[in-house]
């Protein structure tokens, strides 16, 4: 049986940059515990010596590092919640005291 503590869920929320409400914390503590219990079944399988599959392409996905056409500055900043467009800056709360 796998179950999660509320503190553990809080720790994960912090890692995931999610400020959860108390109700969400309660709900996810229960539901994530249930899901982890459900997926436990794979641990019974013997996978010693089995290579993991991260992707199925079986080929390199590199390309030459050559500059090409990109989006214009107005296109890039046009969707920002807060930006100094002419300066080419996105604006966020102050991070340095």
């Amino acid at each position: 049986m796998s179950s999660l503590s509320r503190e553990e869920v809080l720790r994960i929320a912090d890692l995931a940059r999610l400020e959860l409400s108390d109700e969400e914390l309660d709900l996810f503590t229960r539901q994530l515990g249930d899901i982890l219990t459900y997926v436990e079944q794979i641990r019974a399988l013997d996978t010693s010596g089995v290579a993991p599959t991260a992707q199925v392409l079986n080929r390199p996905v590199d390309r030459d590092d050559v500059p090409g056409a990109t989006l214009s500055r107005p296109d890039l900043f046009g969707n920002a919640p807060d930006a100094a467009n002419e300066a080419g800056l996105f604006k966020v709360p102050k991070v340095i005291e």
Binding site: A16, L18, E24, F28, L45, T53, Q55, V92
Partner: protein, 493 residues
């Protein structure tokens, strides 16, 4: 094509009229671009034929970027986002002459199997508005099933094209992983995501595939394998084709009506000269747990980009808010419950101390599933299963129970884990549902509706070898030549 004879403007006007009439019942669209579509249709009518989709009205799932047209992934966190560029599939569809009329609803960021996880509210199944169209491409499936558009694009990470196609009685096709460029698709789980068409016929799905498939320098995971001419491969010939059925995998939990329709579907192909072979896929039953470990891990990484800085929603800032508080509140307010649940699970399984037990283990079992299919394809040309264990379920039926919702993906996730091409075609109807318990399937070619309740479509799923879409589509097309399920229209008015 009839769209060419009819003229693009006439085709688009017809599509928009049907949309106006049915959209209040279905909620299939997030955005409709009527003026833009008509303008483009007029330009098409004034010029030479562009390609095989000339004048065809199409709908695009709203997680695929369309330049100048809002693209939200049905998420609050992308409210107001207007992409400055087109996805490659959008460019290619338009180059082939298609006319985009709107963007369709989905489960937020394609995470879900019912379109109920949409910040804009659920889409309804055209066969029974009290039921889900499936998901996550539920808006695309409903729009095609209701004959608003003959073709729509969806994305399929664990069945999100095939499952809603199955539940709505249309064709849904997921090409081989890497076959269709994902440039401009909002990433959910990058080792699984693939774009594909939904249509009423395999022929139209093949035409769309011919238009959108092939290498794209903008997507480093797109494949350089030569494209087949899919439309030209539809010869009706399935003589000698070996179809594998994983009998042991089709045991418990499959609705009697679904099994009966599935068996009839196999007979259709056998009567055209195919043979059915029992195959063993011993690890397929682990598909759901490993899928939900891998897709959530990848999602937790992919969705880290939604932080309220460069685009989309940002929380209302309070005095003295730190940058981290801005991130955390933006994400809590911007994401819905299922997206948060998956980000949380994915973050957990990737975190120190749990990586090996969950994520690495899932990747190893993924290898075992691939080996099952490799072995099977040594003996057979296609693998057949039902698309889903049951017909469409009621709205609200599974929203409080994530695991029950996940279990419905049992037959679809394997094709994503293995990267194999897979298609769902309509193969029957379940009679009026009486809730749980076996329901009666209509035998093929029987079109009379049983009295009372709704008739609900059933999907037949075929999976093929990597990059052998031609064989897969040929078999699915041959099936449609002998059946009439796909020409039945939901009772809407």
């Amino acid at each position: 094509m009839s769209y060419l004879r009819q003229g693009a403007v006439a085709a688009v006007e017809q599509s928009l009229a049907r949309l106006k009439q049915l959209e209040p019942q279905l909620s299939a669209f997030n955005t409709v671009i009527a003026e833009r579509a008509l303008e483009r249709a007029r330009a098409l009518d004034a010029g030479p034929p562009l390609g095989p989709l000339h004048g065809m009205p199409v709908a695009i799932k709203d997680n695929i970027c369309t330049a100048g047209v809002p693209t939200t992934a049905s998420s609050r966190i992308l409210s107001g986002f207007v992409p400055p560029y087109n996805a490659t599939v959008v460019e290619r569809l338009e180059r082939a002459g298609a006319v985009i009329i709107g963007k369709t609803n989905l489960d937020e960021f394609a995470m879900g199997s019912s379109t109920e996880n949409s910040a804009l509210g659920p889409t309804r199944n055209p066969w029974d508005p009290a039921r889900t169209p499936g998901g996550s491409s539920g808006g695309s499936a409903a729009a095609v099933a209701a004959r608003i558009v003959p073709l729509a694009l969806g994305s399929d990470t664990g069945g999100s094209i095939r499952q809603p196609a199955g539940l709505c009685g249309i064709v849904g096709f997921k090409p081989t992983y890497g076959r269709v460029s994902r440039y401009g698709l909002m990433a959910f789980a990058s080792s699984l995501d693939q774009i594909g068409p939904l249509a009423t016929t395999v022929e139209e799905a093949a035409l769309a595939f011919d238009a959108i498939g092939g290498f794209d320098p903008h997507d480093s995971t797109s494949s350089a394998e030569p494209m087949p001419e899919a439309r030209a491969a539809l010869t009706g010939k399935v003589n000698g084709l070996r179809i594998g059925v994983p009998c042991a995998f089709l045991g418990e939990g499959v609705d009697a009506a679904v099994l009966s329709a599935f068996e009839s579907a196999l007979e259709v192909l056998v009567s055209r000269g195919a043979t059915v072979v029992d195959i063993d896929l011993p690890h397929a039953g682990y598909g759901i747990p490993i899928y939900y470990l891998i897709c959530t891990a990848e999602a937790s990484s992919n969705l880290a980009r939604y932080d309220g800085v460069r685009y989309g929603y940002r929380t209302r800032l309070q005095k003295d808010d730190t940058l981290q508080q801005m991130y955390e509140r933006t994400r809590d307010e911007g994401f819905g419950a299922e997206v948060k649940r998956r980000i949380m699970l994915g973050t957990y399984v990737l975190s120190a101390g749990y990586y090996d037990a969950y994520y690495l283990k899932a990747q190893q079992v993924r290898t075992l599933v691939r080996q099952d299919y490799d072995r099977a394809f040594g003996r057979v040309d296609l693998v057949a299963t039902p698309t889903t264990p049951t017909p469409a379920f009621a709205l609200g039926e599974k929203t409080d129970d994530p695991i029950q919702m996940y279990l419905g993906d049992i037959f679809t996730v394997s094709a994503n884990l293995t990267g194999l091409p897979s298609i769902s075609v309509p193969c029957g109807f379940a009679g009026p549902s009486t809730g749980s318990g076996p329901s009666r399937a209509e035998s093929r070619d029987e079109s009379g509706a049983p009295g009372g309740g709704s008739r609900l479509p059933i999907g037949f799923q075929l999976t093929g070898r990597a990059f052998d879409e031609a064989t897969l589509l040929r078999a699915a097309d041959a099936f449609q030549r002998d059946t009439a399920f796909h020409i039945q229209v939901p009772p809407l008015s």
